[in-house]
């Protein structure tokens, strides 16, 4: 089975993703390892990969606090991470 690729917008820039992948997997594949900043300002990314740790929270299509590991990429999707300078 071949998987289609398309772009989503991550922090305003196009990122090529594989259809069917989760937002978390897609961002990690694109070397985007920071998803959010902790209350003390540390950089954080996915840990559990299954919706438990809440470390992969990002803003998806203007809705904040979405777990990137539970959402599948869709064409036209806009993702904002909490990465510094984003």
């Amino acid at each position: 089975m071949t998987l289609r690729r398309f772009d989503i917008m991550v922090n305003g820039k196009p990122v090529s993703v594989r259809s069917g992948s989760t937002v978390a997997a897609a961002l990690l594949s694109a070397d985007q390892s920071t998803f959010r900043q902790s209350v003390a300002g540390e950089l954080r990314g996915p840990v559990c990969g299954m919706g438990i740790c809440y470390e992969c929270r990002v803003t998806i299509n203007d809705v904040a606090q979405q777990r990137a590991c539970l959402r599948v990429v869709e064409s036209g999707m806009r993702v904002e991470t909490g990465a510094a300078g984003a």
Partner: protein, 430 residues
């Protein structure tokens, strides 16, 4: 978003992993109305999660086909955050289902909530690209590209082998697989598997997928470092330490059962597992429990317990064959516990400035060992963030001996509008 969906059924099942699927099949095949609620994108749970563009394992497909052949209603992307009993003694489960509120009324409930990984804090564990071992497997299966990445796996339990094999097959440069349990214990466990030759063959096949990688027993992580993400990890065997460069570090120390709903409804929990009788019924009448919450024992035990719970919940008697299988698999579960028991060193890796609660950034030095878990929560906010102590709770239990505090709803963060639609009914009536 504002509309609340309501379902009524004979048997509601929380979780669609192996235990939940088996329970649903048995209950629905007996002619009862069944609703299955699951957080995932499709039935199968973590263990049977398909690889992106791939198929689920054969045994999974067989069970899922069997489930779809029944009239059981399956609600995916559904998180149960509250459970209560009404005046008639029926259970009312409240959930957020794909962004909307859902309430399910049921005479019987079967908890099949599975397990999560146990994480123990060590310096550097909060760096990006430090993930769980099952976490790495989940990310890989949902499309993470690891080709050419330098990967180290360090942790404990039977999950190390299949995850190492998957990562190596996906093109990762796997430099070390470290198991904290001493080799003598792991070898004794492997020897005890002679009764299950299929399992031994599976293990050998998995090992052959990463033959060029060192598989070190009695070896554990002590720290990780990096700036924007992990760059290096240090491991030790107690005598000598070694630093390895890596782009992805996978660390976890076995599994812990998910008990939030069981605790919320008041099921008795003994030694970290839900207490059940021979029919898988908990100490709360009409509430059953199957799979990892009754003791982490893997997919075969989960399936058998699920079948038994499904049969018992519809009032039929348990076939002897199933009960005998459960006994046999429980013996394997105990052997696993012994083989992969945690060495004391891995529960004492955190330094005073190491973060323990990742949601609220509470460091080890912020805790007073003389506190209870409730005091720790009140004084530091540890466990009060979005994960609701799912990560730090199990760690603090190992590190401080603090057993979890009482559980209050919502056990999952729920959207306010889902929550409000629940309570509209109450406010209109009053």
């Amino acid at each position: 978003m504002r509309s609340e969906n309501k379902l009524t059924c004979d048997v509601a099942i929380i979780g669609a992993g192996p235990a939940g699927i088996a329970a649903a099949c048995r209950a629905a095949e007996a002619g009862r109305t069944v609703v299955v609620l699951d957080e995932g994108l499709g039935p199968g749970g973590q263990i049977w999660r398909p690889k992106l563009g791939g198929l689920q394992p054969k045994i999974a497909r067989r069970w899922i086909e069997r489930l779809h052949a029944t009239r059981a209603v399956i609600r995916e992307s559904t998180s149960v955050y509250d459970s209560a009993r009404d005046a008639s003694g029926e259970f009312v489960l409240r959930a957020e289902s794909a962004g909307s509120a859902l309430s399910v009324r049921a005479s019987k409930v079967i908890l099949a909530t599975g397990a999560r990984e146990r994480f123990l804090p060590f310096p550097g564990w909060t760096l990006p690209n430090v993930v769980g071992i099952g976490g790495a497997q989940a990310l890989l299966k949902t499309g993470m590209d690891v080709s050419g990445r330098r990967v180290v796996i360090a942790g404990s339990g039977p999950l190390l082998l299949p995850v190492a094999a998957s990562l190596a097959s996906a093109g990762a440069k796997l430099s070390l697989v470290a198991e904290q349990a001493p080799s003598a214990k792991v070898r004794r466990f492997a020897t005890s598997l002679w009764r299950r030759p299929r399992t031994l063959v599976q293990a050998a096949t998995l090992r052959s997928a990463f033959l060029r990688t060192r598989y070190a027993m009695g070896t554990w992580v002590t720290s990780a470092s990096g700036d924007e993400a992990v760059r290096s990890v240090t491991v030790t065997n107690g005598q000598t330490s070694q630093a390895l460069e890596c782009d992805l570090l996978c660390v976890a120390f076995g599994l812990v059962p998910n008990l939030q709903i069981a605790r919320l409804i008041g099921c008795e929990v003994v030694n970290g597992v839900v207490k059940v009788n021979a029919e898988q019924e908990t100490t709360v009448a009409n509430m059953y429990c199957a799979g990892e919450p009754t003791g982490v024992g893997g997919v075969d035990l989960a399936l058998v317990e699920g079948e038994i719970a499904g049969i018992a919940a519809v009032g039929l008697s348990i076939p002897q064959g199933l009960a005998a299988m459960r006994t046999a698999f429980e013996r394997d579960m105990k052997a696993l516990d012994v083989a992969f028991a945690l060495r004391p060193e891995v529960t004492a890796l955190a330094q005073p400035d190491t973060i323990v609660c990742r949601c609220e950034d509470v460091r080890l030095r912020d805790f007073n060992p003389a506190w209870t878990s409730r005091q720790a929560k009140l004084y530091t906010r540890a466990g009060m963030g979005p994960c609701q102590a799912r990560i730090c709770g199990a760690a603090l239990e190992c590190m401080m001996g603090w057993s979890p505090d009482s559980v209050r709803p919502p056990v999952e963060p729920a959207r306010l509008d889902a929550f409000l639609s629940d309570h509209q009914v109450t406010s209109t009536a009053s």
